[in-house]
């Protein structure tokens, strides 16, 4: 693997057959990325700010019911519908395949959220607040967003930057698995794998070639960077 940025293409594999729907990734993401809490009432109105959510779907009729869990986050589409609609380039594509969001540039038209078929872009309806003592544990590497701007999963870009800087200081290329977003690091069954899709030998690239692969709403042509794995139906015993 080389250091050159144009050879990096960040991607993620989520193994739905391993996911237990525990929600640890959601908590980790919230803590890592300074995602504000909105309280019960606002959450009920659909004003939550989760960058990552675990969607739960029920399959079958009682008593043969089974729960399906789909961790949903920004898919970092190669052809992202949110990008061209932003009038101020707050939503843009970075050379490593990330779908960036410039909070300072965002004016809050919310057009990107409408055009995102995965509905993973969230809006700051109020100024963020953290009840005691959560205000003491904000991550200093991550900007705190003000009201009126959109935000979403960044694939923990601060960790990517950090890893790239240490690799550069030590004069070596990035190692596979060196960058771990908070969700992947926390996932107890190891269902979330992150890495460079351009490196054919990386774990994420190998898993992404799995015959169990699928990408969400692929027919829309958004070319997501998140690949889900799902088997024939024997994986979860309900």
């Amino acid at each position: 693997m080389s250091e050159a940025t144009d050879q990096l293409r960040w991607g993620m594999v989520i193994d739905l057959d391993r996911c237990t729907g525990c929600g640890a990734c959601v908590t980790a993401c919230q803590a890592e990325n300074n995602v504000a809490l909105v309280g019960k009432e606002e959450f009920g109105k659909g004003r939550n700010l989760h960058w990552l959510r675990v969607e739960r779907y029920w399959e079958g009729e009682f008593p043969h019911v089974r729960a399906r869990f789909v961790p949903m986050l920004c898919q970092h589409c190669a052809d992202a519908p949110c990008e061209p609609v932003c009038p101020v380039y707050a939503s843009y594509h970075n050379p490593e395949g990330l779908n960036g969001q410039v909070y300072n540039r965002c004016v809050g038209t919310r057009y990107c959220a409408n055009n995102c078929p995965y509905a993973v872009r969230v809006f700051n309806f109020f100024n963020p607040e953290w009840p005691q003592p959560l205000d003491q544990q904000l991550n200093p590497d991550v900007t705190v967003r003000s009201r009126g701007v959109m935000e979403k999963c960044t694939f923990c870009i601060q960790r990517i930057r950090g890893a790239k800087e240490s690799a550069k200081l030590e004069g070596r290329p990035l190692r596979d698995g060196e960058v771990q977003p908070a969700c992947a690091q926390t996932c107890p069954p190891g269902a979330i794998i992150f890495g460079n899709l351009n490196d054919p030998d990386s774990q994420v690239a190998r898993l992404a070639r799995s015959p169990r692969r699928l990408r969400l709403l692929e027919d829309l042509g958004t070319e997501p960077s998140v690949v889900y794995l799902k088997g024939g139906g024997h994986e979860h015993v309900g």
Partner: protein, 456 residues
């Protein structure tokens, strides 16, 4: 130079009648202005609450990120197509009956596009940095994103505001000179400056006729492009229910429908308020009614074509959106069909109804209620049920959005009230020109011959 003193008393009297709205206001005018001003002030208060607290005071939420503000935006931009339609298209097609209503319709265009143009700014999460969307030189070397339909929107609406204001102003020049000649003191100076030294020379009239015709021809493509671009805000997205190729022409027809209906409503109000019964005749309502009938027929055809393809293809996501709309907003759907199709098409075919002013008032108000509903049904249900069922939701406007909307209506009324007080609301020159033409007409059997030469 002609002053009122030199005019024949009969003509001066006629002019005075047409300019009666500009007489010093009575207490009723002040009361109305006060009430409208109070509603606007309350809307400003609601907006201040929104700016200082956050967009959370509105009803929008995660799936439904656009709400009443965008509904209002589309509605007001739609209304603004009235003046263009009535004035420009009818001017180019030499429909002389338009003359008494053209000024009112043009003013309506300017004020409704101004009100409409405010809504996208009101709806921003950070209104205070709206200028990021303008292409201005800055130290970041950043340019706005010209691929974004919102930028097209801003360009189109600014062009339309400027274009329609110039159209209104140029058309008003001879009338402003007339008002100048009838006023004294500071008022005279005000109108003297505004009338740009109009003396009514042959050269000036020739230039005036040429400019008016050219502006009329130029404003039509602008109007069509404005509402096409508003439609593309929706149509170019991936949202099921928005992504439709018919949207641009469908929106333009919808805009003209609501515009024509609003002009008729306005004609009725102006006629009553300024006692212009002499100039706004049943003939005008008859012709405008025919126009409304034609555009509602077109609108119905477009809607039918849109829903037919949706229903026939039965694409799961699109159909789910439609099913949800019919279930949750069934009564609104019915209201829309009633006001835009059933009522106007069944009633406006009758000449008696077209000439009856109370009936026309009812029908045209219904058309605009239905058009507002249509915009709501376009904006909200598709956002409520997008591709991911886990985040399906719904939307109810909050008191803030309703107050701002009320302020928009009141603000429009206030602008109109002020305009009618300070500017000639009836196009005196145009009406007089037509009267002279008719008076000079000679008949040869059934043929009517104009004896007056006319520019245009």
């Amino acid at each position: 130079m002609s002053t009122s003193a030199e005019l024949h008393p009969a003509i001066a009297g006629k002019n005075a009648a047409m300019l009666s709205s500009m007489e010093p206001p009575r207490w009723r005018w002040y009361l109305l202005a006060f009430v409208l001003g109070a509603v606007v002030a309350f809307g400003l208060y609601a907006f201040t609450v929104q700016v200082t607290t956050g967009m959370g005071v509105t009803g929008i939420n995660l799936p439904v990120m656009w709400g009443f503000y965008i509904v209002n935006f589309v509605f007001w931009v739609g209304l603004s197509h009235s003046g263009t339609m009535v004035s420009a298209i009818l001017r180019l097609s030499h429909a002389t009956w338009r003359r008494p209503i053209l000024r009112g319709a043009e003013a309506m265009t300017v004020f409704s596009i101004t009100v409409g143009g405010l809504f996208p700014l009101i709806h921003l999460g950070r209104n205070w940095v709206f200028y990021y969307m303008l292409p201005y030189p800055n130290q970041y070397g950043l340019w706005p994103n010209f691929r974004s339909p919102l930028l097209w929107d801003m360009m189109a609406i600014n062009t339309y505001i400027l274009g329609s204001t110039i159209f209104l102003y140029v058309g008003m020049l001879p009338d402003l000179a007339l008002v100048r000649d009838r006023s004294q003191g500071r008022r005279r100076l005000f109108y003297a400056l505004l009338s740009l030294g109009w003396r009514g020379t042959a050269h000036q009239w020739r230039l005036f006729a040429r400019a008016s015709t050219m502006l009329a021809a130029l404003i039509i493509p602008v109007a069509v492009s404005v509402h096409s671009i508003v439609a593309w805000d929706f149509a170019v997205t991936l949202v099921p229910g928005w992504h439709s190729t018919i949207f641009a022409p469908y929106f333009v027809i919808g805009a003209i429908t609501s515009g024509v209906a609003a002009v008729i409503t306005l004609m009725i109000v102006i006629r009553k308020a300024f006692r212009l019964e002499e100039f706004l005749l049943p003939l005008h309502f008859d012709n405008m009614g025919k126009l409304l009938l034609a555009v509602t027929l077109l609108w119905s055809y477009f809607y039918f074509a849109e829903v037919l393809t949706l229903w026939y293809a039965h694409e799961p996501i699109e159909w789910e959106m439609f099913r949800y709309m019919a279930e949750r907003y069934g009564w609104l759907l019915f209201l829309m069909i009633l006001g835009n199709t059933l009522l106007p098409i069944s009633l406006l075919t009758f000449r008696r109804i077209r000439r009856s002013i109370p009936a026309m008032l009812g029908i045209t108000l219904m058309v605009n209620v239905a058009m507002f509903t249509e915009r709501f049904l376009i904006v909200v249900p598709p956002l409520s049920h997008k591709n991911i069922p886990f985040v399906w939701g719904s939307y109810t406007p909050s008191w803030v959005e309703l107050s701002v909307m009320a302020a928009a209506f009141a603000g429009f009324g206030l602008l109109y009230l002020l305009f009618a007080k300070f500017f000639p609301i009836v196009a005196v020159t145009d009406v007089r020109e037509q009267e002279e033409t008719l008076a000079g007409e000679r008949r040869l059997g059934r043929t009517r011959l104009e004896t007056m030469a006319r520019e245009e």
